[in-house]
Symmetry: C2
Subunit: 299 residues, 2 copies
Amino acid sequence: MFQKIALFGVGLIGGSFALALKRAGVVGQIVGVGRTAAALQRAHELGIIDVIAPSVEHAVRDADLILIAAPVAQTGTILRTIKPFLQTGTVVTDAGSTKSDVVAAARDALGSLVGQFVPGHPIAGRESNGPDAAIGDLYVGKKVVLTALPENTASDIERVAAAWRACGAVIHQLSPAAHDRVFAAVSHLPHLLSYALVDDIAGKPDAALLFHFAASGFRDFTRIAGSSPEMWRDISLANQSALLAELDSYLLKLTTMRDMLARADGVALETIYTNAQQARHNWIRTIEATEQQTRQGGD
Amino acid sequence: MFQKIALFGVGLIGGSFALALKRAGVVGQIVGVGRTAAALQRAHELGIIDVIAPSVEHAVRDADLILIAAPVAQTGTILRTIKPFLQTGTVVTDAGSTKSDVVAAARDALGSLVGQFVPGHPIAGRESNGPDAAIGDLYVGKKVVLTALPENTASDIERVAAAWRACGAVIHQLSPAAHDRVFAAVSHLPHLLSYALVDDIAGKPDAALLFHFAASGFRDFTRIAGSSPEMWRDISLANQSALLAELDSYLLKLTTMRDMLARADGVALETIYTNAQQARHNWIRTIEATEQQTRQGGD
């Protein structure tokens, strides 16, 4: 049970966290801090937050838990505004898509208090943003990765984990570096590749003709190119080295396949296509089995 | 009205064509030819075909229209088996995903009769294949591209167009070369890129960890990597030169973005991401407006 939770950011991620905790009946009061008065007002109308904090001090004081659900590049700045009011016993976590940079920013901002910060990353989202996009079941059956610091206490980690579990999420732990490498490969790189394809086509003289005949395969492949450019610029830069490594690996693969195509080596291409199809098939089967298990109450 | 239609291939594409024409009440008899007795038997049970052809001669004789809905690499061979029985007045069409190679194969197989062949490509599909995947509304509101030959008569082109329109499709015309360039960009390249990503990840030592954290963005981006490897090997080779040109253009774009990332040029990356997001947004809006129009009876 949480007496008081402070939300820095009341949009899709923070708002859905709040709605889920309220639905689970595990929170007394939720206090909101945000960049715009309009978003805070809307979050209040929607029942996401109970109180619009008149000051950071008011939001932080006596909070059991503080969630920072703002663009990842702002994490350091927000932690700096929190620090003067941070009491012993309050745990701070975040929802950023990259973790090594967040940990560095947290060490810089919080100094000796960094042990009170438990970094996290909920693997969930929707195409829309803002308080109106928030839904109480966004995290049901979804993964939350905690990248705990050596300075964190087991009880603080557990407090963050318990909040996410109350939202229906399943907790995993990785080091910040492992987290960033994993998500560079399976999330950040695909976003960059999808943006690249749409931009490449849009820049051709006959782009209108090309788009005219694009169909459902293109629609799925490019869905993530509909994501926020600012957010993905920040993620790309925040996870620069891991993303570069994955991009270089991919460029090598693609260059190899270009050579296979140029020499009309159908056997080699089919080997890659078959391997990919099989791997994806196995992955989907595992996911579906896990979803089945989650619905049945396991994890 | 078609008295007799012969189908070479009774799977998803041919079967859905047959079901749609029957539903529209524009066909007397549908005769099926296929690679396996089991598929033909199943198509007969499902009401896709009325008759399992005892021979190619029987299937072709007195047909108004013949649709070849088989893997694109087999088009030439099938046309060669049809030619000895092809009567004046019968129109042959196909459903292949590439057109320049099909036209070359048709010229080679049919010789002076090539004017009776009107190449086509319905832009529709599903994840499953075979007669059981066939549905009567697969083509409703979808595009069918005809790449007519100089030898085709207007009335033969119109006969093929009328059949597809009876299935609910909207007819477009392109040259075979323009068709292949368009689909290299918006379909064949995305398939290759999607296969490449899954194969690249599957080949890493910690592939299991990476797949474990892959989520919905990865799922959409890689959906087309679940497609048939044999079919996409054939398409890649059949459309080799156009696909190579699109792949080289993409590799150049990706290398440029790699340099932006390496020098942490957030402004340049954001410009590309923004351009892509905007172009995709405009594309989706156009698609939705067209779908709306199609539902209202326009085209």
